[in-house]
């Protein structure tokens, strides 16, 4: 029963890059269990990577190692870190805060280290050694300040409307917003959601019935906009970042 290591990258599936990382991991920890989270993150889109990982990592067993390589700064001076939380370890370019360690001891790296593929030469071997039980502090110095990804938070407009944005669009064309279900008024039937010049009255409980647009609290706990039997993105012609507004209904 080897340790689980997940992988999230912007490498796509048409190159050998992901496999090279897996080969490096298996060379160090032959018992590692590799699980792909997603390799089609838009190039260098750290925000999308953070969102996709956030919808998956908590469903893995404790002590899973999550290896993330979406890295606008490969070869530059950005730091690589290990982040140990009570539930999981994250190995990633400097990004999200509990016990954080800068990856700085080359003894755990492949040699030589290329200037262009730190995923294979630094992150993968570190994840593999971590999965074998090497403690985070052996990989480098503990740090207390991190670059935290700035994700725009919903805010309340002067007229009382809650203003958020589209955080992610999934494979079905569902729009996942930045608005948590817990932020919405309790009487769900009285709310109205506006997006892409369309208004939706009330919250639905399932995707499965009726016609037209619907608003729903999705499986990740956020407000989602969905088109029954269709693709809300194509129908509304909206993209990640577009505004979504929620107001109490007229009743």
């Amino acid at each position: 029963m080897g340790a689980i290591i997940t992988l999230t990258t912007d490498f796509g599936l048409s190159d050998g890059y992901v496999a090279a990382m897996k080969g490096v991991v298996l060379g160090i920890n032959p018992e590692a269990r590799l699980v792909d989270i997603c390799h089609s993150i838009r190039p260098q889109d750290v925000s999308q990577a953070a969102f996709v990982l956030s919808t998956a990592w908590e469903y893995f067993p404790r002590r899973t190692v999550h290896l993330v390589v979406v890295d606008p700064g490969v070869g530059t001076e950005r730091k690589a870190i290990i982040l140990r939380t009570p539930a999981a370890d994250f190995v990633a370019p400097d990004g999200p805060g509990f016990k954080a360690v800068v990856i700085s001891r080359p003894v755990f790296w492949r040699s030589p280290v290329s200037t262009t593929f730190h995923g294979r030469d630094i992150f993968a071997p570190v994840a593999a050694h971590l999965s074998l039980g090497v403690p985070p502090e052996d990989f480098g110095e503990a740090i207390t300040s991190l670059t935290v990804l700035a994700v725009p938070q919903p805010y309340r407009a002067p007229d009382g409307r809650l203003i958020g944005h589209i955080r992610h669009i999934d494979n079905f064309g569902n729009l996942i917003t930045s608005i948590r279900g817990s932020e919405l008024p309790l009487k769900a039937r009285t709310i109205a959601v506006e997006v892409g010049n369309q208004a939706i009255s009330g919250l639905s409980r399932t995707y499965g019935t009726g016609e037209g647009l619907l608003a729903i609290i999705g499986s990740s706990g956020y407000l989602e906009i969905s088109l029954r039997g269709g693709d809300a993105r194509a129908f509304l012609r909206v993209e990640v970042g577009d505004e979504v507004m929620v107001k109490e209904g007229d009743r």
Copy 2:
């Protein structure tokens, strides 16, 4: 040597949904061996999922658990079932008959169950417990009637021609039809296949030689139409569902 669990979904590869299911499975059965069959089923296209699974499941060892989540009815009243056959177990929304059990005992589910992601909250944990040897009847009541997917069958026209349709188009643009090789006349050389306003004389034994369109009994046992060195779908401008006719040749 953990149990094998395969996964077939319409979730695509750009979200964290598939990985969330795998995390849930590994949390319950850390020895499970996860094998992806296909995650690019067209959204809610149960027919395509059934076809793709039919080309793969029988090549897996006995007692493999096949987890299928292509689910137009998530959150509605459709049933979830386990289907135990002599060779394999299928965990799926109500669909294909031997020993069938309705999945109704929440003790095996994640808690709370979302209304939108039963793949993660019901199907994945049930597949994981099943792979650990929990008998199907522990998950719910046995049932005897199932919703069977209606796949149009080939029929014989009054003029003697066999009329089928395109059942699937693969990554190479090969057209896999609904006509089994065993339904064709024995003297293969004397048949003519018509599709997309083109006629093809006789059956070929391989894709590999010559030029132009060919008809062949493919690896799944069905009549296929292929374009040598090309893409038959693009060449013929046909789609899944289009008619394919077979008649005895003029000889």
Copy 3:
């Protein structure tokens, strides 16, 4: 700790073909560890398969079995081979030379063998038996001559320029050329690279800084052309096979 078997095919991810092969492998070697290298090789593009595999195979542990099924000649008279090198075994249609064996003994194959899917019926079971320690010579006769893939090599033009071509374009739009870093003059700052009617002066050490096009020795050891923060393929409107020229700078 089962043997590792990697898979490289042109099967795409929308069919059940890859999974059928994995099922066959696991039926023979239930301990096999399956790692996908790439399944989106362009149909029958043996050259692309060879390149992608070349960027990944050496990072796997010794004795990994690499199963490659990109096969323009399925069902024809082309040979299937096992190639044992000191580091790894390759199971593939006749292609790249050390100890080579023709796969000719049907006792290790699935029965019956289809005429159209040798990946599932011959290559996958042979890879699985090989991973269990069956020696290559048990699968067929040793051979000494192989069909070697002709990859155009860079050459020196009369005016002293080094002429190569674009060998591969990766998911980021980086152009990987056929020119090895070791073939370039030592004083990297004095070289100029020409591609797609653009000239690039000098070599960069990282992708991560500045603007515009850059030339770099990539992680695979070859000269690459990259657009900072963008997609060099789209910017230069070039494709695999296009010429790349390197000359000593004017200085």
